[in-house]
Symmetry: C2
Subunit: 132 residues, 2 copies
DNA sequence: TATGCACCTTGTAGTAACTACAAGGTCAAG
DNA sequence: CTTGACCTTGTAGTTACTACAAGGTGCATA
C-alpha cells in the first residue's frame, strides 16, 4: 500500500503521515524498489489508532503513551483508564471556560443598541479590565 | 511607565508586550534617554483592550479588526456586532464538538472493566475507525 | 569602590501539530 | 515522447506566544 492509499483510507494527508514517521509516532514503512513507502495492514491499524486518539483530543505525547500501553498487553488497564479520565477532565474544563466565554459575549451583544462605534458599548466594555 | 509596570498592570509578560509591538498590534512606545520603552495611559488602555479581546477568544487578526473599528467612531456599530456574533458562533461550535467528545470518552470509560490491557475495550475501540 | 541585583535592550530559537511548497524522480496512458 | 498523477527529500510557514543569550542601566549595599 502506497502512502496515497493509506492517506485516503485514513483521511490523513500524506504529508502528515510522513510527519508522524519523522516524529516516531508511526514506525517507518518498508520501501519498494523505487524508494516509495510500502505500508502494511499493521500500519493501517496503527495510523487509525493515532488518528482516532487525536480526534478524541489526546496530544501527540498522550498518543505515544497510549501506543506504548497498547503494546504491553499484560500491563494493568488502569493506566489507560487514568489517561482517559485525565483527558475527560481537561475537556470538562475547556467546556466550562467556553461556556462562560459564551455568556460574556452574549451579554456584550445584548448590551449595545447604538448605531455608531463611538457610542458602542461593546467597544467600550472591551476597553476596560474585566472587573472595572 | 516602563514595560515591567505595564506588564504587571495588565497581567501580560514584558516579552508579550514587545511581541505585540513587533506585530503591529500595539503602537510603539516612546523611548527614555536610556532607550527604555515609556508607556502612556493610552497604551495601557490599548493593551487592556487587546488582552480582554484575546481572553474572549478573538484571534490576533480579529483583535486587529476590532482595534481598527474602535478607531473609527463614526462607522456603524454593525461591524463590531458582526465580529462578536461570528466569535459566538465559533464558540458554540467548539462547545458542541467538545460535548460529543466528552460523551465518547465517557462511553469509552464505562466500556472497560478488564484488568489487563490485552483485554481492554478502550484500547480495542481506539484501534478501529469511529463507525466500525 | 566594587558588586550585586533588578530591570531594560536586541535578536534568535523553541513550542504543537501540522501544512505548504520547491525541486526533482517514477511510471502508466495516450 | 510527453502529460499527469504519483512519489521523494528538505525547508519554511502557521498561531500566539515563551525562553534564552548576551549585554546595558541604575540603585543600594559591603
Amino acid at each position: 500500500m502506497r502512502i496515497g492509499e493509506l492517506a485516503k483510507a485514513t483521511g490523513t494527508k500524506a504529508e502528515t503521515i510522513r510527519y508522524y514517521e519523522r516524529e516516531g509516532i508511526l514506525p517507518a514503512a518498508d520501501r519498494t524498489d523505487n524508494n516509495y513507502r510500502d505500508y502494511s495492514q499493521d500500519h493501517l491499524a496503527a495510523l487509525t489508532f493515532v488518528r482516532r486518539a487525536r480526534e478524541l483530543g489526546f496530544s501527540m505525547a498522550q498518543v505515544s503513551e497510549l501506543l506504548d500501553l497498547a503494546d504491553n498487553e499484560d500491563k494493568p488497564c488502569g493506566d489507560v483508564d487514568h489517561l482517559v479520565r485525565k483527558q475527560l477532565g481537561e475537556i470538562d474544563r475547556k467546556i466550562d471556560d467556553l461556556t462562560s466565554l459564551r455568556d460574556e459575549l452574549g451579554h456584550l451583544l445584548r448590551s449595545c443598541q447604538a448605531d455608531r462605534i463611538g457610542d458602542c458599548r461593546i467597544v467600550e466594555s472591551l476597553a476596560r479590565p474585566r472587573k472595572a
